[in-house]
Symmetry: C2
Subunit: 405 residues, 2 copies
Amino acid sequence: MPQNSDFSIYNLPFGIFSAGRKKARVGVAIGNQILDLYAVAELGHFDEIGVKKEVFDNEYLNDFIALGKPITNAVRLKVQQLLSDQNSPIKGNDGLFEKQADANMHLPVFVRDYTDFYSSIEHATNVGKMFRDPDNALLPNWKHIPVGYHGRASSIVVSGTDIHRPKGQVVPKDAKSPVCKASGRLDFELEMAFIVGKETELGESITTANAEDHIFGFVIFNDWSARDIQKWEYVPLGPFLGKSFASSISPWVVTLEALEPFKVEGYEQDPSVLPYLEYNGKKNIDINLQVGIQPDGGGETIVTNSNYKYMYWNMVQQLTHHTVNGCNVNVGDMMASGTISGKDETGFGSMLELAWAGTKPVKLNDGTSRVFINDNDTVVMRGHAEKDGIRVGFGEVKGKVLPSF
Amino acid sequence: MPQNSDFSIYNLPFGIFSAGRKKARVGVAIGNQILDLYAVAELGHFDEIGVKKEVFDNEYLNDFIALGKPITNAVRLKVQQLLSDQNSPIKGNDGLFEKQADANMHLPVFVRDYTDFYSSIEHATNVGKMFRDPDNALLPNWKHIPVGYHGRASSIVVSGTDIHRPKGQVVPKDAKSPVCKASGRLDFELEMAFIVGKETELGESITTANAEDHIFGFVIFNDWSARDIQKWEYVPLGPFLGKSFASSISPWVVTLEALEPFKVEGYEQDPSVLPYLEYNGKKNIDINLQVGIQPDGGGETIVTNSNYKYMYWNMVQQLTHHTVNGCNVNVGDMMASGTISGKDETGFGSMLELAWAGTKPVKLNDGTSRVFINDNDTVVMRGHAEKDGIRVGFGEVKGKVLPSF
């Protein structure tokens, strides 16, 4: 096991991989290896849990996740035992493992519906200062509602997928009418997303007390954004083509259970929230997040260090609010946090904020600077939690920006 | 064949039905009957087209639609021939037919992603007059962009499904803070939706010239809306819980080919649109639309008569715009028109407009009046095209509003 691996024995995230002649199937990351769960199941190690091997012979995790937490947690604990036991029956069985370096990772879930929230108070405040009133940066509803909107599920892609700079309608400076051209203000947004693990029926509402039963796990989420397209289109119905050209996610789904030790208190919410949004216990999670930019052929510059704990609205409030109207959720729904910005410019979660709408260029190690993302730049996001010598991480989500078609 | 049937020999829409011991499968509506396509396929009538019977043994139309227009059109023409031919081999074979009255209709497609446009100029103008500036009702982008937004796919239900009045955050009159309660301003929105029949890859853009290749057919769409929830939540990211509690669609998917004879010229677009949105030929469709309200146990009152031809932005412009940024589309994507309002109050497509934000109650035949929809009201929408004695219709989409949970 490499030191400081994101994929320690305490993590054991699930993903979909293919390697050599093995077609897409379910695996668990451990160190720099992947444990092939289909092969483990074939040996009968999950028989006592009652899980059939076919669920692991799958292009997506949805069928596995739909078995429910009692089953999926039992599988994860069984894997932990098999990997830890000195006399493990899988010890030395190299056929059960693949090197991560030799495997292709696939989109881990079929994303049924995708929702994006807007739950970082620093991000919402920064955007409000730039585009609205610096003295009243937050809109009146922001501290009452975990504001969110529906996103495009079809264009969510896995880490490593190249992105083409989108074209669209933008209004040039000092012009009154739009033109159709490649976006000149392509940005990333540093987000986390949780994946729904338990469905509800139409008309049913989740509560803050049972919301975690419906959350399977997490990925890092890059909500690519074309600021110039978004600016022209978003009134009155919200972001559309400025976002829907692509969103990138990390391939390994880290379970809520693996993140349990890293929970922390959230923000004090003032004014107090409505009763249906009140909650007990720690619902924020301390996950260090960073973003790097790699120019074509050059080295990487870390441009921000943020943390998932900087969420004014937490995951259980988001999911409870989402279903207060009876909206049904499904296994594989993806709910992103919104851009996660820290308290100052060392932790802002987008180029829009880091370069303050183009006014403060961000210097890279190669001597160039950026106000937005250039063609052939690669954006890399990483995340990990660490406490008492235990590390649970996400690996990375990476995407290269190719020129527009 | 009943006179004036929506389901004439010129229509032949596809749907998913179950009846008696027959589980969900593909059928075609003809008069007041359903032709069981699985049973027809079992007799070998589609062998020459190369369609296997299994595609009709299906809970959704997606697999059938994905065969592509050359195949699906050939199936429709074969059905037309089988139903028309005096010496038809299916004549008198009652086992191939079910009475519509005896069948259950199901959601016809698995809706992959759902988009709602805002393409009726009368509707956008009415909303702008009520909530913004009567003298500048349209926002600056409206005549340049077919404005749209992502909606919630999971809560789209088939006609006949009861809807519960949603709860959510609303701000009472003269209050400054929200409360969580059942919506007091529940509305319908009269829309049409088209269903995507041919996928694209991420990075690919559809053009106005080839957009119709990607459109399989149409349904009537009731975009239920909770105006008070929507009003409080929608800035700055658009409608969310004010819409996502339910949308209702008609069960029979009428093909673009069946609607071909009813195409008409669209609006003159001034200012002229950007080149990628220019189009040739007739792309609007003359489909009469009506909405009725049935109070519990009472008779129906028709409250509006509108038409799908009242679209400033047509279907090919919508789909072209949606993909100009490279956003990929999939079979089963549903793209709704936005509320379709005629030029005056006899044709407005929502209670918001008909009762002008609560100021002009709409009288029903039973002597009661409505400014929005009451509990236990049923809303019925119907649509049909008619020309030269030929009628092609949609049947209806109906939904009853039950009290809030």
